[in-house]
């Protein structure tokens, strides 16, 4: 996720990383990782603290106020932290409208990654 500040609101953090900041910690699917109190400041998320707790790399970009936070390496050390599918929100090439993977609950889904190159 790209950042222009190391403090942002919890909704933006969740939309960008998939991790919801809740009273019990940073949660994704059925997994919650407890957070230290300094992870939250005035309702915002302190990205440095949360990133360190979740094992997310924080990489500075070329200019001032640009960072990319990578995916979590904790707690499983695998690409998937939980088998609960993450939300995926992307534009549909046929219409340009945003599509949410969770709209297909109740059906089996084959998610198929391909490329033109």
């Amino acid at each position: 996720m790209l950042l222009d500040s190391l403090h942002l609101d919890a909704a933006a953090f969740e939309a960008g990383t998939g991790w919801a900041i809740k009273p019990e910690g940073a949660c994704r699917g059925d997994v919650c990782v407890p957070l230290p109190v300094e992870a939250r400041a005035d309702g915002d998320v302190d990205v440095e603290v949360v990133a360190q707790r979740l094992g997310m790399p924080l990489v500075a970009g070329d200019g001032p106020d640009v960072w990319a936070v990578g995916p979590a390496t904790a707690p499983t050390g695998r690409a998937l932290t939980t088998a609960v599918a993450p939300e995926l929100e992307l534009p549909d090439l046929r219409t340009g409208d945003l599509f949410r993977l969770s709209s297909l609950h109740g059906q089996k889904v084959l998610l198929l990654a391909w490329a033109s190159w």
Partner: protein
């Protein structure tokens, strides 16, 4: 390519969602979707988000998700019962191509896939759900998803910074970030092929921008290892 399979399996409870990993955007991917007259969701992923979210490292890759939104097979090579790209290479007379293209095609012909086995497994899951031997438990799904060390996570961050710079018009500034992504996660082919393709479309050959290219890297790992085998 997937539309036909979707027609066959949609009434039996399967939806197919294709995701185009194309930093070049809709102009690159949409013509394929239009030509296929796809009637399933056909998404565009310019930042290769599915690499981060699902552990995709090559294409084509499929992820199975059940009715409750739980992954039952993590990202793995996926084929709709055949592989039209590799099939088309079988009939080619390599002596009619320029030497570098012939070398590339000769390697591509060694790539191993088993499209009928993949399709049979998919159909078995569609018909039998959780009782299918191909539907994995949550622990198996996590354990079989790609490894994610600090290096692999940093690779995703650098790929995204590169995509951001490229998208804002500074392609040259993107290259060091993409080189770093390749160094940190050398077995991620979507990061490599995407970047190579900007310098040398289709052929993805040797260019000054990168120390790697398709032919050298495929020969390096052995073409037969380009896709891991299907494991029930």
């Amino acid at each position: 390519m997937w539309q036909e399979l979707r027609e066959e399996l949609h009434s039996r409870g399967l939806e197919i969602v294709t995701v185009a990993l194309d930093t070049e955007g809709a102009d690159a991917a949409k013509p394929f979707v239009d030509r296929a007259a796809a009637n399933h969701p056909s998404l565009l992923d310019e930042t290769h988000k599915v690499d981060e979210l699902f552990g995709v490292v090559n294409v084509p890759n499929g992820v199975w998700i059940d009715e409750q939104g739980v992954v039952v097979r993590p990202a793995e090579p996926a084929f709709p019962g055949r592989n039209p790209v590799l099939d088309s290479f079988e009939k080619l007379d390599l002596s009619t191509f320029p030497p570098d293209v012939a070398e590339m095609l000769a390697e591509a012909k060694k790539i191993k896939t088993d499209p009928p086995a993949y399709k049979a497994a998919l159909v078995d899951w569609v018909d039998n759900g959780a009782a299918s031997r191909y539907a994995l438990s949550p622990d198996q799904v996590i354990g079989r998803s790609q490894p994610r060390s600090s290096d692999e996570a940093r690779a995703a961050a650098h790929f995204e910074l590169g995509q951001h710079l490229h998208g804002s018009g500074d392609h040259a500034a993107a290259i060091p970030h993409w080189r770093e992504a390749h160094r940190l996660q050398p077995d991620n082919w979507t990061y490599k092929r995407q970047a190579w393709n900007f310098e040398d479309p289709v052929r993805q050959g040797r260019t000054p921008a990168y120390d790697s290219c398709w032919i050298d890297d495929v020969k390096g790992i052995g073409a037969e290892n380009y896709y891991p085998p299907f494991v029930p």
